[in-house]
């Protein structure tokens, strides 16, 4: 029962926060709500025995990505933009598509048989700690994707510099 209550709290809060995020006129407000949402997501991860991911969610998402957003917004000084309409005039069409698709998909979720084939027990993870478990997996089995991710980060560095630096004559 407690589980259900906690999940209910998280779910309702997260959905409301998500809705709030995308409807704010001021981007700053959106970002602040987004941060709160991220903390909730991190909480949900803890609830699902993913401590390391919860930490990453806070550190990387909240701590780095959102801060990057804030940084750029401040850099650009977007005061004037606030006066204009925030939604495209076509938003109701988008809403119809999204709501209908979502309803159709959500209906088909219930009663669906998901897989239950894994061999990792939660007790095993708890024994060594989630961070160790993820780390071992990442550097042994998933070494290749990890390396590819490093290339992606390199591209991001190069790309961001290429795009954002001022033209030098």
């Amino acid at each position: 029962m407690l589980n259900q209550i906690i999940f209910g709290y998280f779910a309702v809060t997260m959905i409301s926060l998500a809705l709030i995020v995308i409807t704010r006129k001021n981007i700053m407000h959106s970002i602040v709500y987004m941060l709160i949402l991220f903390f909730h997501i991190a909480g949900l991860y803890l609830f699902l025995n993913a401590e390391f991911l919860a930490a990453i969610q806070i550190i990387v998402y909240a701590g780095a990505i959102m801060v990057l957003f804030l940084f750029v917004i401040m850099l650009l000084n977007l005061r004037e933009e606030l006066r204009k309409s925030r939604f495209a005039i076509t938003w109701p069409i988008g809403a119809i598509f999204v709501v209908l698709s979502a309803v159709m998909i959500i209906i088909s979720v219930f009663g669906n048989r998901f897989a239950n084939v894994g061999n990792v027990k939660i007790s095993d993870i708890e024994k060594v700690g989630h961070t160790v478990a993820v780390g071992k997996l990442l550097f042994v089995e998933y070494l290749f994707p990890f390396e590819v991710a490093s290339l992606i980060l390199l591209v991001a560095i190069v790309g961001a510099i290429v795009l954002a630096k001022k033209e030098i004559k």
Partner: protein, 644 residues
């Protein structure tokens, strides 16, 4: 197996074509004939090599190069060399070589001398590919390629309006036939799943009795295929009712007429029927159509040839008539006889044309035989060779044409069907007319007194040696070519039919030696009548010709007007169809339907295009909406499974 050297036969002319196109104009100039002649000589040489191999029973059927292969579908360049091909190779390369040599003199000094030889080589290449093909698709491409080179060559002097018109006419009229041919090839593929001769002909029995339903009509597949293929043959071999292009094609240079429009390309139709004989043999209906078309064309064209005055046109109608004989042979199942006649005809008809060219050369381009006469003294070589050709075509015993024509007549008579008897009758009458009109040329041109102008008379001369030499060679051929097929009753063994029998089988024959002898005798007698008639009218009693012309004025006019077929077509096209269309457009639909179709479809697409491109608004939001729409529609399709 034959060594790969047979590849030289078609590809040497191709090389010379490319060579002449590249270097002809700038480098070779008036030496442009060298490479093509060497190349075609090579082809001839290798044709003989191949013939010897074939005589010893070596055949080739292989795919040289596969272009597309996917499942059952295969497009390849392949060669089939059997007895039929070997004969065709000899005919094509011999005549081609002689025409090449002849053209040195005939085309001398022409502005586009090298281009002419390039086209000749292109034609030779295409024709050789056509006869050497081992599948219908390559045959079809060869078919179109010879048509194209013929188009270039008829319109070679395109400055002359009549020449370019004739080229266009040949092209358009052939479209009709080729359309049917193309459909036939497609139907073959649908029926057999392949286009290679060997599998088709070995499976051909399977389609016996199969029907093809189209628009509610049931048609016998074999008949349908055979008739569609025959459509192509009718167009290319200038049979009724698609014969009108051939006389007009005489606007091209005379060597072209000799090579393409007498000896080789126009016989492709006969070759096609002979090649596809297993299919034709399945369908008595189709064979009857072939025989009747041939017979009627034979006599139809011969009657027109009686009264024409243009030397080349007479020979052109004679060609149409002789092609009719060949189809008669095929139509009564005697394919070997048809090919035999094709082979002898190539010699004497090419010779006739080349002699005509020689005459025209001497007459500075004059073609009207009424304005000639007495050329015998001035051009002995031309006279004697043309005489031999005429004797041959008239069917005088001992000459090549006698053997082949007699063979056809006997086969038609002996086929045992009513159609056979009927076409035999037509052909026998045709034989008389043939003898008459060929000797009409001889007598009007070479005998009597010269009826041209003084200057022309002064100019008369024998043609140079490189023109007379081919004449002599062809004259030899016109005499000797027949001796490979001496009929049994004359002590021969019909070696030619025997030789071709692996490909085309034997003709059915009913009747004994006596009947055969009578048929032969009859044909010789009517030929004699024809010759004597011509002699009597045009040499002895010149007045008769004119009085007869007056007496039979209506008939003369019809014949001189070539039965007004051209006019009829023109009338049909211009008056009937065009006027009807015009009427429909103007009065009934007020022009919007036709305009709608002609301009409307592209315009509608263009309009649609202008509208649809507006969707691309440039706004990212709209693009993502389109993606969401697509996502949404796909979701609906999955959730409701709308394809069930």
């Amino acid at each position: 197996m034959i060594p790969k050297c047979y590849l030289f036969i078609p590809f040497l002319p191709l090389v010379s074509f490319v060579f002449n196109m590249l270097f002809g104009k700038r480098v070779l100039k008036d030496k442009a004939h060298l490479v093509p002649i060497v190349a075609v000589s090579g082809s001839l040489f290798f044709s003989f090599v191949v013939l010897i191999y074939v005589l010893f029973g070596n055949l080739v059927n292989e795919d040289l190069y596969t272009w597309v292969k996917s499942g059952d579908f295969k497009v390849s360049i392949g060669f089939l060399i059997d007895e039929l091909t070997a004969v065709m190779l000899i005919v094509v390369s011999t005549v081609s070589l002689l025409v090449h040599v002849y053209s040195i003199g005939y085309m001398h000094g022409d502005e586009r001398y090298s281009r002419f030889f390039a086209y000749l080589s292109l034609f030779t290449f295409s024709m050789l590919m056509l006869v050497m093909s081992n599948n219908f698709l390559q045959l079809y491409f060869g078919w179109e390629a010879v048509g194209l080179s013929s188009y270039f060559l008829i319109g070679f002097w395109y400055e002359k309006k009549s020449a370019s018109d004739a080229a266009k006419k040949a092209f358009i009229v052939n479209r009709f036939g080729d359309f049917g041919f193309g459909l036939g090839v497609i139907l073959l593929f649908i029926t057999f799943g392949t286009l290679h001769y060997v599998p088709i002909f070995s499976d051909v029995e399977l389609i016996k009795g199969q029907v093809f339903s189209f628009l509610g009509m049931d048609m016998d597949v074999a008949t349908l295929i055979a008739l569609l293929l025959f459509c192509g043959a009718v167009g290319k071999s200038a049979q009724l009712p698609l014969h009108t292009w051939l006389p007009d094609a005489m606007e091209g240079p005379t060597p072209v007429s000799a090579l393409i429009h007498a000896a080789t390309m126009v016989t492709a139709g006969v070759f096609l029927v002979a090649r596809a004989n297993p299919i034709f043999s399945l369908s008595p209906t189709a064979l009857t159509v072939v025989a009747l078309t041939g017979g009627i064309t034979a006599i139809f064209a011969a009657t027109i040839a009686l009264v024409q005055n243009d030397i080349k046109r007479i020979i052109a109608y004679s060609t149409i008539s002789q092609l009719g004989y060949m189809f008669v042979a095929c139509g009564v199942g005697a394919y070997a006889s048809g090919i035999f006649h094709l082979y002898t005809h190539a010699f004497f008809k090419a010779l006739l044309f080349l002699c005509a060219g020689s005459v025209m050369h001497a007459m500075s381009g004059e073609t009207n035989i009424q304005k000639m006469g007495g050329l015998k003294e001035h051009m002995p070589y031309t006279y004697w060779t043309m005489l031999i050709a005429s004797l041959s075509i008239a069917g005088v015993p001992g000459f090549a044409g006698f053997f082949s024509k007699d063979d056809i007549l006997w086969r038609a008579f002996a086929s045992g069907t009513f159609t056979g008897k009927f076409v035999w009758f037509l052909c026998t009458v045709g034989a008389m007319l043939t003898a008459f009109y060929t000797f009409r040329i001889i007598f009007l041109t070479f005998h009597g007194t010269f009826r041209g102008t003084k200057e022309e008379k002064k100019h008369l001369h024998e043609s140079p040696q490189n023109m007379t030499m081919p004449l002599v060679v062809l004259a030899g051929g016109s005499v000797l070519a027949g001796y490979v097929g001496i009929p049994v009753i004359l002590g021969g063994n019909e070696w030619f039919s025997e030789f071709l029998s692996p490909v085309v089988g034997y003709a059915e024959g009913h009747g004994g030696h006596l009947a055969e002898f009578i048929v032969m005798l009859l044909s010789v007698i009517v030929a004699g009548f024809g010759i004597y008639g011509a002699y009597y009218i045009y040499l002895k009693r010149i007045d008769i010709a004119n009085s007869a012309k007056e007496t039979f004025k209506p008939i003369y006019n019809i014949l001189y007007g070539k039965y007004y077929v051209d006019e009829l077509y023109e009338y049909m096209v211009q008056r009937t169809i065009l006027r009807f269309t015009k009427y429909v457009i103007e009065k009934v639909i007020d022009s919007w339907i036709i305009e709608g179709i002609v301009n409307g479809v592209p315009a509608a697409i263009g309009w649609l295009s202008m509208k649809v491109r507006r969707v691309q608004t440039g706004v990212v939001g709209h693009y993502s909406l389109a993606m969401a729409l697509g996502f949404f529609v796909l979701t609906i399709m999955i959730v409701f499974k709308i394809w069930n």
